[in-house]
Symmetry: C2
Subunit: 385 residues, 2 copies
């Protein structure tokens, strides 16, 4: 039904890779046991082994120990565990949390929930490309600060934060540092031996892995109150039956992302940006020209509603998104575009293109043609012009 | 590798039904979009539609409205949302929670975590078949009681609680009632129009559905603080990207369980119980003879370690479990067997058999033969005899 359709929405990343699927398949039907202790029966032991092998493979990518990585149901849960776990463990020490203004909802709304419980939250301004200035962060840290949560890369505009400087600052000030790497994991290198980050949120759904599985890196010694209570799984840090096919799929998906793929994405990204910005008048790049994730392009078309562009591109066989597609209230202006100094019009006229393993240069060129034509037509009839 | 092996462990239920898998498959590869609002693009709309159809089908089974059912990552998360959500919403009204002593860890340890935060928890005794006496519950409810959480059926011994009487009592006393129906959903009828239960925990993994997906019924009007913060998914009650293949798989799995299947399970259950209890000396049934889930048999073999039986049956090609297999600390005595008045020896000698769609009467007979032989051999060498 959707065969000729071109996905340049986040769904492009959500599409499961066939090789991931093939790797998961035996764990649906053949080795479907619950991982048991070593005294358990054979298939349970095999399930446990494959779970631990998957964990080890993901931990290795981060330069971490296996025991520092837990599987979760996705990035939302990972960020809930990180933020609520740290404040649960450190609430006697302090009650101040710092984040950037442009965090994803999983971090932003978790912090807002904590604010209602009495924690003080500082939402740091970002510059017009979306970057937090480490000097501004430095001035915000007080003796009451217990947690800094600043994303690795942005969900809408792809801007990459200087998490090395941020991490070193947090380390110096003895504050726990969490970063949401949902949109950067395997796209931008992150080695915990080189970058002093304490907690990292990750997800399989952004790298052609399965839905419903994510992960959290927890540096050894990080104070963290258990959030999901129940059984003693995941080193007693996250209760819940292990999702073996999910874990296997996540590890395989992570393995399949290569440096070459990221280079190819960057090339397509730059080509799409260049074509649109040069061919469509009054188009503005959101985010930074080079300091952005390889898969992200975000452009505002002045005097046109992003919703209209989305709809017209859909009719022409292209999926793109406007605002944040992570939730279903897309008529609110994007807090990210507002955060980088855009007004409501700029936010409403923004369109995000997400490239993936399945995107070709031909797709990109066809999309650029369609965008130019759609925007031109819409402007002719636009009451905003 | 495990072809000739017979699974009478919980893994038997965890094995995905091929028909569930076939139903899920298109949502991995073809309709993999994120569900968007109605203004989104075509595939997103289709994803949203299939999510809502899956929700509606599961809600219908309970006699509920679609808006009363949310998808979660599994039973552990569902019970965390239920317990923590209710106390979060009602903590000004009271601080007392009541549960049975034999709840699963997802409820038991969540309550223990709440106890550490200052809530008072009453752990109700059960009779020697595992049942809570509604009169005892009645006497435990005080003006400070805000929540009663009593399971529908037990995870280890299959005992079914009188949730109708319990629900009516809670309704009369104006106390929220949560039931963990992980092991009874689709095995024992539960209609929310007839039974006044406010919250029901469910899981796909006990009915040949996929791992990593569960659900929570929330009766309209039930006070519930949001627990997983982030986006506005699931009627703004549970943040996190929707797991479309999981939701589709859960609905299909629920659809596939039939009355006939449950009758066939009961027949095999009774046959297995009868054979073992009559053929193996000093074997004691744990739980109730008839008032138990169709898939559960739990027997203690005196003077033998359950761990030894498990190991020897594994070598003969049968998977069974001892204690609670939901977590990896199986050397602790089962709190369920202790709860029904058993001592440590009885708990350590207990073996649980779980029957499933893939179990045959021939499997049951072969298992009964093997159990009789293994127990006899072990007793010959047992230091406990």
């Amino acid at each position: 039904m959707f065969e000729d359709y071109i996905y340049l929405d986040n769904a492009s990343m959500t599409r499961l890779d066939e090789r991931v699927f093939e790797k998961m398949k035996p764990y649906f039907f053949d080795t479907y046991a619950l991982p048991t202790s070593e005294s358990g029966y054979s298939m349970g032991v095999e399930a446990k082994e494959v779970l631990e092998k998957s964990r080890e493979n993901i931990a290795k990518i981060l330069g971490a120990e296996s025991s520092e990585f837990i599987f979760t149901s996705g990035f939302t849960e990972s960020s809930n565990i990180a933020l609520k776990g740290v404040v649960g463990a450190l609430k006697r020490k302090g009650s101040h949390i710092i984040l950037s203004k442009i965090e994803d909802y999983s971090v932003l709304n978790t912090a807002k929930a904590l604010e209602k419980e009495g924690f003080k939250v500082t939402y740091l301004d970002v510059d017009n490309t979306g970057r937090v200035d480490p000097e501004v962060l430095k001035d915000s840290i007080t003796s009451k600060t217990i947690l800094v949560s600043i994303q690795h890369a942005n969900q809408e505009i792809g801007t990459i934060q200087n998490i090395k400087a941020i991490g070193e600052l947090c380390q110096e000030k003895e504050v726990i540092f969490h970063t949401d790497a949902t949109h950067s994991f395997k796209r931008i290198p992150l080695d915990v031996k080189k970058i002093p980050v304490d907690l990292i949120t990750m997800s399989a759904h952004t790298i052609h892995g399965p839905s419903g599985i994510g992960g959290l890196y927890i540096r050894k010694g990080t104070p963290l109150k258990k959030w999901m209570d129940g059984g003693f799984q995941e080193f007693n840090r996250r209760a819940g039956l292990e999702n073996i096919p999910g874990a296997v799929g996540f590890a395989k998906a992570a393995h399949l992302v290569t440096v070459e793929e990221n280079q190819a994405l960057k090339k397509m990204r730059d080509h799409l940006m260049d074509r649109i910005l040069s061919e469509v008048p009054q188009s503005i790049l959101n985010g930074h020209k080079t300091n952005r994730t390889p898969q992200n392009v975000n452009i505002t078309f002045e005097f046109v509603e992003g919703e209209s562009i989305t709809l017209h591109l859909d009719m022409r066989g292209f999926a793109v998104s406007t605002g944040s597609a992570c939730f279903s209230r897309s008529l609110d202006p994007s807090h990210v575009i507002l955060g980088i100094g855009g007004d409501h019009e700029r936010a409403h006229g923004s369109v995000r293109f997400t490239l993936s393993r399945f995107t070709t240069m031909d797709d990109v060129n066809r999309a650029a043609d369609a965008v130019a034509s759609v925007v031109e037509n819409l402007r002719k009839i636009s009451p905003l012009g």
